[in-house]
């Protein structure tokens, strides 16, 4: 268990390299087994994780360039633990869902394994440079997945995805370097260690500019309005597996970045920017939900709904209290599970019919009852029905944000209305009513492969909806520690007031 | 009237500009070579002058290496010129332009 985090990060990479020599026919089996081992390791990590300890665990440290304080530094806490597990899970299920006749299966598996490495790496690294390395590397496999296995406009979508997010992260890099420079000025040594950075007290003015730099990197990834337009393109053109991983894990990197970098390092600026973030997030929530309603393509509905839900997550991150922040981290998980499953479901019907346009379907509930049921469960989780995974996070986020702004919460709360508007409209158009095309009458229901990929997600949706405690508790601990650290770290009195670790303490 | 470093540097600048004008103006490859030589020499003067001013030999060292580079450049360059001339029958740059974007 000593180097479990390194194993977690590099197992997929090593396996990916070995994957080049694997026989073509057994590539998928190879991918499934590697991803399964990875998931087992991640679960093992959870099993040996000390849930009462809010700090970093399993840390590993070895200097790379000691003159500049760049080191290989990884660790896990309650915030990152479950995102890593989710990334491993989604990758495994995504590979399982791959059709056996996928062209260039071997390359696909290798790309996915590399992608898994970068995803796990981003969430585990505690060194800014290592973080940035994985952050940028994650673009490459995704670029291939969209560009090689995508739809008709795949090259445009892939390039747009790449350049857009890349442009943002370059500014992020400048921010990180500036941060290291400031740290050097203050302490006389170079360090890119996040935990070191946490101890640095910056003036509000410095924080302001650093926040903007971080924001441009993270916000494009989230993606926040108005930087969201690459997402519908990427989703529209990506193959099913690409969309699944993109929505489930890659988007979370943005919000995770806010939690890991912006909040603890720049607490004053985070509070200063809260109204700004709130405004953008509210636009995201409402505007993109409306755009989702106008879509004709099923996948685009879910793509835009992703943006809308990410808005809720953003609101939770900037609620600055344990309820909202904890809720938003839980919502990251739940959105990962639910949107991943929804994209899988769209992929299933796309494979059968070759179309994603809702007008083409209708009455699918009668033809494919199991499919409709699974879709229905995910739909309900997506609109935040209690006792599904979607409710817990959404409820906590809205609850937490109410402390910040009542009006904002009511506006954000409209998500439960307009969210159900577009999701139910989608469901009605495709699943209800008479079957519109003769050829759709003969559609096969979910087969074993698809059920294997989807049923675990359904189980998780219900399990974490009814009993979220095993996940929520470590998150809550770490979130509280994060808030305490922010509070101690803040320079302005107003910031200290805005951050609420516990109400009892506030009184 | 004392001749200071500025004098040398200004001379070097003027000579460099002359070489520069040559590079820009000439269409004949051989003439371009000549102009390049002028520029290199101009730089050499500057190096020597600055070295002298600071009492440092590094300036002269660089001048040496520049001369060495110039010599090898001429050796290779002239070989290429001959081949070009044989192929096109001319050394006019406008005649031998092939890489139009």
């Amino acid at each position: 268990m000593d180097h479990i985090l390194s194993i977690l990060i590099f197992l997929p990479a090593v396996a990916g390299i070995l994957g080049f020599v694997v026989d073509k026919g057994s590539a998928k089996a190879y991918g499934v087994s590697v991803a399964a081992v990875e998931l087992l390791l991640a679960l093992g990590l959870w099993a040996s994780f000390d849930t009462t300890n809010p700090g970093m665990q399993f840390t590993e440290f070895s200097p790379i360039i000691s003159q500049f304080g760049i080191s290989y530094n990884v660790g896990v806490d309650g915030i990152s633990l479950f995102i890593v597990i989710m990334a491993a899970l989604i990758t495994l299920l995504g590979i399982i869902l791959l059709r056996d006749d996928t062209k260039n299966m071997k390359n696909m598996i290798v790309s996915l394994l590399f992608l898994e490495m970068t995803m796990v790496g981003v969430f585990l690294s505690l060194d800014a440079i290592i973080f940035y390395l994985f952050w940028e590397l994650s673009l490459v496999p995704m670029l291939y997945i969209i560009g090689a296995w995508g739809g008709a406009d795949r090259v445009y979508a892939a390039v747009k995805f790449f350049l857009y997010t890349f442009a943002g992260s370059l500014i992020l890099l400048v921010g990180l370097l500036a941060m290291a420079y400031l740290f050097h000025l203050e302490s006389g040594v170079w360090s890119f260690n996040l935990l070191d950075w946490y101890t640095l007290k910056l003036t509000p003015d410095q924080q302001f500019w650093l926040f903007l730099a971080f924001f441009s990197g993270f916000a494009i990834k989230v993606p926040m309005f108005p930087f969201h337009t690459w997402l519908p393109w990427a989703h529209g053109q990506a193959p099913t597996i690409g969309s699944v991983i993109l929505a489930a894990v890659l988007l979370k990197m943005g919000t995770y970045g806010f939690v890991r970098f912006s909040l603890p390092i720049l607490p004053d600026a985070s509070v200063t920017f809260t109204p700004f973030i709130m405004a953008l997030s509210l636009i995201m929530v409402i505007y993109t939900a409306m755009v989702a309603f106008a879509q004709k393509d099923m996948k685009q509905v879910i793509a835009y709904s992703s943006v809308s839900h990410m808005g809720i997550i953003m609101i939770g991150v900037f609620a600055m209290n344990a309820e909202g922040l904890g809720g938003s981290i839980f919502l990251m998980l739940s959105h990962g599970i639910v949107s991943g499953a929804l994209f899988m479901l769209v992929g299933v019907i796309y494979e059968r019919t070759g179309t994603k346009i809702m007008e083409e379907f209708g009455g699918l509930a009668a033809v494919m009852p199991v499919y409709a049921t699974v879709f229905g469960v995910m739909l309900m989780a997506s609109v935040g029905l209690p006792l599904t995974i979607g409710f817990v996070g959404e409820f906590l986020v809205l609850l937490g944000f109410y402390k910040v702004s009542a009006v904002g919460t009511i506006l954000a709360g409209t998500t439960i209305i307009i969210g159900s508007v577009y999701m139910l409209a989608l469901f009605k158009k495709s699943f209800f009513g008479p079957v519109r095309h003769e050829k759709n009458l003969g559609l096969k229901d979910l087969d074993k492969r698809e059920l294997t990929a989807l049923l675990p997600l359904v189980a998780i949706v219900v399990w974490l909806g009814v009993y979220p405690k095993p996940v929520l508790e470590p998150i809550d601990n770490s979130v509280k520690a994060l808030l305490v650290q922010m509070k101690n770290h803040a320079q302005l009195e107003s910031t200290k007031e805005a951050i609420i670790v516990s109400k009892k303490e506030a009184k | 009237m004392e001749i200071g470093i500025s004098h040398y540097l200004i001379l070097s600048g003027i000579l460099f500009s002359i070489g520069f004008v040559g590079v820009l103006r000439r269409k004949n490859l051989l003439m371009l070579f000549f102009a390049t030589e002028i520029m290199l020499n101009a730089v050499n003067i500057a190096f020597a002058a600055i070295g002298n001013y600071y009492g440092d030999l590094s300036g002269q060292m660089f001048a040496f290496f520049i001369i060495a580079v110039a010599a090898s450049e001429v050796a290779v360059g002239l070989g290429l010129l001959i081949i070009l001339y044989k192929k096109y029958g001319s050394l006019d740059l406008d005649v031998i332009s092939t890489m139009k974007g």
């Binding site: - | 070489g19 020499n41 600071y54 030999l57 590094s58 110039a70 010599a71 192929k87």
Partner: protein
């Protein structure tokens, strides 16, 4: 006073000679004035106390490089006037003039960085009991700049070989593009046969 006069003579002469090089339509004139300018530049080096450099300038530039040009000229038609287009010469002179102006401004501005110290000060060799520019140069060149010096030597060797290969062997054939000259050759052969 002596230095003053010598500098201005050399400076004005080199400027005029190089201007001739750049402006002249005849290759031979150009080359001759270039060679003359080089000689005068070595004079400047002597003025600057870089005796060894001045000698090298004379030997390498005037002796070797200009000779190389002169030999190369034999392959080209040197008597013909060089055709030049003067369409945008105003732009060229404007650029050149601007450049000269900028240099002049730059260099006549007070030199910043008075605290620069000499890494290898003149007179190093005096410690060893000998003196003179050549000795100084030798000392530095073969200690601090030994590796660059050897690399430069290697570069010259490579350049020499390259020059020989490019220009020397099989002067009748084109080495890069054979088709055109091959056809010509074959035509000539046919003519001879006929």
């Amino acid at each position: 006073m002596y230095e003053f006069v010598a500098f201005y003579i050399f400076a004005i002469a080199t400027t005029i000679l190089f201007l001739i090089t750049v402006m002249s339509k005849n290759v031979l004139y150009s080359m001759t004035s270039l060679a003359a300018g080089m000689v005068l530049i070595s004079g400047l080096f002597f003025l600057l106390g870089a005796d060894f450099l001045g000698v090298v300038q004379l030997i390498v530039y005037v002796g070797a490089i200009m000779a190389l040009y002169a030999f190369a000229m034999m392959f080209f038609d040197a008597t013909k006037d060089v055709k030049e287009k003067h369409g945008n010469s105003t732009l060229v002179f404007l650029l050149g003039g601007l450049m000269a102006l900028v240099f002049v401004i730059m260099f006549s501005a007070p030199i910043i960085g008075e605290n620069i110290q000499a890494l290898y000060p003149v007179g190093l060799a005096e410690n060893l009991g000998v003196s003179g520019n050549a000795q100084d140069v030798g000392l530095v060149l073969f200690t601090k700049y030994l590796v660059p010096f050897e690399v430069a030597a290697l570069m010259l060797l490579v350049a020499m070989i390259a020059g020989i290969i490019l220009a020397g062997k099989k002067m009748d054939y084109s080495l890069t593009e054979c088709e055109a000259s091959d056809e010509e050759l074959q035509k000539e052969i046919k003519k001879e046969e006929a």
